[in-house]
Symmetry: C2
Subunit: 457 residues, 2 copies
């Protein structure tokens, strides 16, 4: 065994240090980005903040790169250990530490599965709103690192909006506590906000203090069915323009409907070429229903052919299961895909949907668009069948990104830059701004050992 791993084993315990073995550790070389396998030299499993600090001191002394990971469900390659080194898996630090009903706070370790975090809040009659699609398997630490979103971001905001404070280990091994346990607090620079979304490149997060909100007592769900994407996109603009803020407004385009109807559990009716899955919530059932009815009325005025209100919890669950499986379902149309995560200002959604569709025609490929239309965050998927098509696919993806920027949007709404969008960042941000970010990275990580190769080229 590499004597370095013996040294680290002696420092934190042999059961926490596993030199690379593709047979048993293969999963640690991959994530959900589809960006291939990148094997680390060892996978390390800390069980405490002190372990993490020790690993970072060791890594600093030996100049070994460290890439934090947990559930490895990321879509941008943020947890891929590009340069080898240590894959620092936070999965054993998975405890819920403290919930306060009175303070509406929840303190958790980064390896908690997001679904557990949601469930812990709900058991106390409280609500942790961020709901990335992978909530059943992803980790809260990964959500914080990537500033994950989800359908409910429309009304409730993203992960950053719920992080009050952090404990984190700097690359040097120093432990810092940022933020607060209170809703308000403006003492010093907001390092909490800086660490959220920094994709594991500035510090290793070891504890998270979350803000919770009261659990809305009533939820109503409707599926609005349209004959084309244009009318669906107009409905989104109309609903928001009417001052209605539903908790979700999820768009399906024609491809997503075709794919979803094959996958199920919900089968769209004939004639459905686009759809919006809308949900309203609040404390008063009648008011929540009236808001949904107003929303449905606007959908019908915008050209919807039907508005179906979920009558049972099973119907609601089926609709959401269908929405959550769109990404997989698209593989039933074409086995390969590149999934983008652009955002456009809401007023430009109709134009974005149309231009993305046209891009597919230009490149001779299928572009399927679905996602969080209410906040302009569209998952544009370029579908294809054979690896040989990759150059054409890449050209199309490039154009997808340019459409987002051209419409005043951004290259990534919730997946992060990581490795997947590293080359595109200079298209969105000026040299000065990127230079500033590199300099900040240098303050936290002067040796450049923490998650190198991500965000910036």
């Amino acid at each position: 065994m590499d004597p370095r791993w013996s040294e680290l084993s002696a420092r934190i315990g042999a059961e926490k240090v596993r030199p690379w073995d593709p047979e048993t550790l293969g999963a640690y070389a991959r994530d959900e980005s589809g960006l291939g396998a990148h094997a680390p030299a060892a996978v390390v499993f800390p069980s405490s903040t002190e372990d993490v600090a020790e690993v970072m001191r060791f890594a600093s002394a030996h100049r070994i790169p460290v890439t934090p990971c947990a559930a490895r469900t990321g879509k941008s390659g943020g947890s891929l250990p590009l340069p080898g080194g240590i894959a620092l898996s936070m999965e054993r630090m998975n405890r819920i530490l403290e919930l306060s009903r009175e303070d509406l706070t929840l303190v958790v370790q980064p390896g908690c599965v997001t679904g557990q975090v949601m469930a812990a809040a709900e058991e106390a009659g409280l609500f942790y709103p961020p709901d990335p699609n992978s909530w059943e398997t992803c980790s809260i630490g990964g959500n914080v690192a990537e500033n994950a979103g989800g359908p409910r971001a429309l009304k409730y905001g993203v992960t950053r909006d719920y992080v009050l404070g952090l404990e984190a280990v700097l690359p040097s091994g120093e432990v810092v506590r940022t933020g607060k346990r209170t809703i308000k607090g403006v003492a010093g620079y907001d390092l909490t906000a800086l660490l959220v979304g920094s994709e594991g490149t500035l510090a290793v997060i070891t504890e998270i203090t979350l803000r919770l909100v009261p659990l809305p007592r009533e939820i109503r769900t409707a599926l609005c069915i349209f004959p084309d994407e244009g009318s669906a996109a107009r409905a989104v603009a109309g609903i928001l323009g009417a001052g209605i803020l539903p908790r979700t407004l999820e768009l399906f385009d024609d491809c997503s409907i075709d794919a979803s109807s094959r996958k199920g559990p919900y089968r769209f009716p004939d004639g459905a070429r686009s759809a919006i899955l809308a949900e309203t919530d609040g404390d008063e059932g009648e008011a929540v229903m009236r808001q949904l009815e107003r929303l449905g009325g606007i959908a019908l005025e915008s050209g919807a052919i039907d508005v179906l209100v979920a009558q049972t919890e099973t119907q609601r669950r089926d609709l959401w299961a269908t929405r959550r499986r769109v990404s997989e379902a698209l593989r039933l149309l074409h086995p390969l895909k590149v999934s983008e995560d652009i955002v456009v200002p809401r007023s430009r959604i109709p134009e974005a949907v149309e231009r993305l569709k046209a891009l597919g025609r230009t490149h001779g490929l299928t572009v399927a668009t679905y996602g969080h239309a209410g906040d302009g965050n569209l998952h544009a998927n370029v579908l294809f069948d054979r690896e040989e098509e990759r150059p054409r696919v890449n050209a199309c993806v490039d154009d997808v990104i340019r459409v987002a920027l051209d419409l005043g949007g951004t290259i990534t709404g919730e997946h992060g830059v990581g490795l997947a969008k590293r080359d595109f960042l200079p298209l969105e941000q000026g040299e000065g701004l990127i230079g500033l970010q590199r300099a900040l990275k240098g303050v936290f990580d002067p040796l450049g050992i923490l998650n190198p190769g991500k965000i910036f080229l």
Copy 2:
């Protein structure tokens, strides 16, 4: 005239550069912190981003300190030009640049008065929620610099939650654009969040893109009157614990009630020794009223002697005018005061109120507590009559800060550290965290010319 001012006049126009003259410029040496007069060497009035860039290039070349200011309504001395140099007043950059009803965005210059920003949103049927007490006179740029809060922060969050993007000028004169125009977006580090609340020490903000939300159509207001602070504090905990999230829960203690009853316009009834001004909002009048009724019921169970629901807009306005004037009204009891801005976890509010009152007795001073009880942000005011009492007052303020920290809170909820709380920051934050912030400051401002002497000693 100092030849440097002639040079700057030549570069940006003589009408924008005014060498110090205490007769006509005296106001630029002060703010609302009560921390005395600090005269700049010149007051400069840029009218464009290019002007600001030119001033910063000039200041960098001559190593002249620059302190941004606008309405000078800050409470922590953030805009006091401590080391002389240039007071950079943003007051002429006061235009509303663009409102998009569809995107729910508003682009403004930093010198806009916050009340104008609110009004511009409301004219479009939209809502800019942050409502610092000084909203009629303070500037939106100052709100962004300090991350201002206000009563509605309880439900709607603080200024940071509404800033999507910024244009800012670095101390070098370089112009950067941070953030986005869309709700979601995770490209790179969140420099927008870092600049918000950085108290004018990292960059000069020259343009702000704000997120708006739909304007709630219905608001209901109630004043809950209590025989003592303990029952009011319990009511706050009970209301939030019941899953009710009103838009405000403002606390008055006995001193605040006595002072307010002298000042008006509202006169509290006999027996009122504490009160909560509560407001609920939403789109459905009946649901909003029912929420207020549930809230009032909990207040009564907690010991309220009366719950008065505002019946007219005039009554509502009077209640709010009374709340907004508490700070001034306290001067009717004692002419001098030091106003603190602590936050405690909500569960500790009863204990905080009690301990603050006891501190007054210990130090032989009156401590009046009022403010945003719903989020734990209490304005604890140490009242006194003569300057000679200052040492005793300072000792009491010191204890107020320690109570906040002892209860797991923070030294400042919305006023900022500035000069006023600079000495207290090391009580809340460790050396490592403060060192990290100093290093970040060094990245933005290597020459140390931008608002020196603030936040850190």
